[in-house]
Symmetry: C2
Subunit: 346 residues, 2 copies
């Protein structure tokens, strides 16, 4: 086994004992950091994603500023939408907007197959550049949106509260939904394999919005597709993190979709969650991102609570339940890294 495989983070993904609990943060590169905001003044978000030099710079910002145990490539879960043909825009202050939403069979049929190597090659290039910089230091995580979350953006045309149009496609035209998910799965598998080929040492699948579904609908309309993507990545030989939010009531079902690591949010206590899905299943979580704004003694109390619940069992990666929020104090994020590393399970 190469030296690279001995990183704390990768060992925890495999459920092996570690010298200290590994920690990283979703959206650890982002607007809460001054270095990021400075770069953002000169470039649009999509420019930063598509220019490997810039994506590399942003990816490395938290590696340099924080004592984290993994880097995650700077990109956006919606990048595969452009080559699929829906268009993709980021409207300042309003988030993503999909100019040609996919709402009927014809629109789904018209979606284009993606060649990730050619059409999303800039992500691969950034991964290669980052690996050169951090080799031997921390491992690099690649990622993509999960089939549901990606499809819901394509159908809704942007952010949504109720996910009505998405659910209606499931309920009214399940065959159209199935075709959409088929196409998204094919794109995702190709895209994620490309990332591993470029050097990603682990992968995270983000199902950020799937918590709007009932367990019934998750099982029927989502689980088979998330499972297909995760199964399709097995041959890559890197750990896959199955992340979702708002799904704490159905974690054992979510775990059925697979994943070397199950990542869940703060709406369930870590010990309840781990018990439900089994202590032999590595997990990731689960601090409320808002807690990073709290005074340090409050943060420490809550970080220690999570660590106490993890109880020193192998297979815990410390993370938030969702991404770092804008305006989060950088020194608080840094402090959490230290609190996690220094926590003594004895």
């Amino acid at each position: 086994m190469s030296e690279e495989n001995n990183f704390r983070f990768l060992k925890a993904c495999r459920g092996e004992p570690v010298d200290a609990t590994p920690v990283w943060f979703m959206r650890q590169a982002g607007r809460y950091m001054k270095a990021y905001r400075d770069l953002k003044e000169k470039h649009t978000f999509l420019e930063m994603c598509k220019t490997p030099e810039l994506a590399t710079e942003v990816t490395l910002q938290p590696v340099n500023a924080l004592n984290i145990d993994a880097a995650i490539i700077f990109a956006d879960i919606l990048l595969p939408l452009e080559p699929m043909g829906t268009g993709l825009e980021f409207i300042v202050g309003d988030g993503p907007s999909i100019p040609r939403p996919v709402r009927d069979a014809k629109a789904v049929e018209n979606l284009r197959p993606v060649n990730a190597e050619e059409q999303l090659g800039f992500v691969g290039d950034a991964i290669r550049m980052v690996r050169k910089e951090i080799s031997g230091k921390v491992p690099l995580i690649g990622f993509a949106g999960a089939p549901f979350t990606l499809s819901s953006y394509m159908v809704e045309g942007g952010k949504s509260r109720e996910f009505k149009i998405t659910k209606m496609m499931m309920f009214e035209t399940p065959e159209t939904w199935a075709l959409l998910m088929d196409k998204v799965c094919a794109t995702l598998i190709d895209y994620l394999k490309m990332q591993v080929k470029a050097g990603a040492q682990a992968l995270q699948i983000f199902d950020s919005w799937v918590g709007c579904l009932s367990p019934h609908d998750y099982t029927k309309y989502v689980l088979p597709y998330t499972k297909r993507v995760i199964d399709g990545l097995k041959e890559c030989g890197v750990p896959v993190i199955n992340f979702s939010t708002g799904t704490s009531t159905m974690l054992p079902t979510v775990a059925q979709a697979g994943g070397d690591v199950i990542s869940f949010d703060w709406r369930i206590s870590l010990d309840d969650a781990w018990k439900q899905i089994g202590y032999d299943q590595p997990i990731q979580g689960n601090l409320d991102p808002v807690l990073l704004f709290a005074p340090l003694p409050v943060i420490k109390e809550r970080v220690h609570e999570i660590m106490r619940q993890a109880d020193g069992r192998p297979g815990h990666i410390f993370n938030l339940g969702h991404g770092i929020l804008q305006h989060t104090p950088v020194d608080h994020v840094k402090a959490v890294c230290d609190m996690v590393h220094e926590y003594n399970h004895a």
Copy 2:
């Protein structure tokens, strides 16, 4: 026991056997109905809430149009905010806006005590008028926001996604949060008692947004206050429904706050939820409101699934997991009433 106490809905609240499962819908009076939209063209939302004749008319619209087992007084959970002194506006297309949000100790101290009889008497008047119209037909439910949901609106100043300012008040200045919750509790108990005095035969406490919290924070910052309100209503002698959404992971904790009926959303299957909180606890739920847009055969399948899970046990009130959405087809709502009433548990 008076004849009024024999309503299916009230019997189910008490866990008594019924001839058919009672059904009503949160936001059963609302924009999805043409009669409501017609009235709304001539009056603002707040005018409709504050004019007992109009509130009565709106309350009766679903009673006349649907075969429901309970009416709920037309009002808004935010009405107590005006007499407390924060102001309250409804901006078309954008929801509620609180002109003077409550974000520090001074603002909380300045909140005014409310005399519900005098300052929210229009709700009592509407209740009296509705009771005259529906006496002997269906029982009338009164309601209010739960302490957390009401306080979160006061702190955030409107709708929120992250509830950052609210959580920060808890984490940074817990004594300010406690004082705010104290004041809100006092207002709510007075307001709800007034509703019962006016004729409300049951009460529902809406904790619509409390699902943003971890079980830890719910237990520490919310549970004691919700419990205080529910305990404070015991002397009224009417059943109290403890409603929340996004809390399916901590239903046994939510149930500790009390309530004759626990109402939960679609993010957990009804049988899982009922097992967790105990079959002797009456429950309400739990269809996804988006399902009302689905084709009737799909709706029927899902209504029957819920009914099958309830398994004919006494103490189930059929409802959605949250309010009826705009544009919901009225005939689908009507059809659900019939599906529930006609379901044969044998």
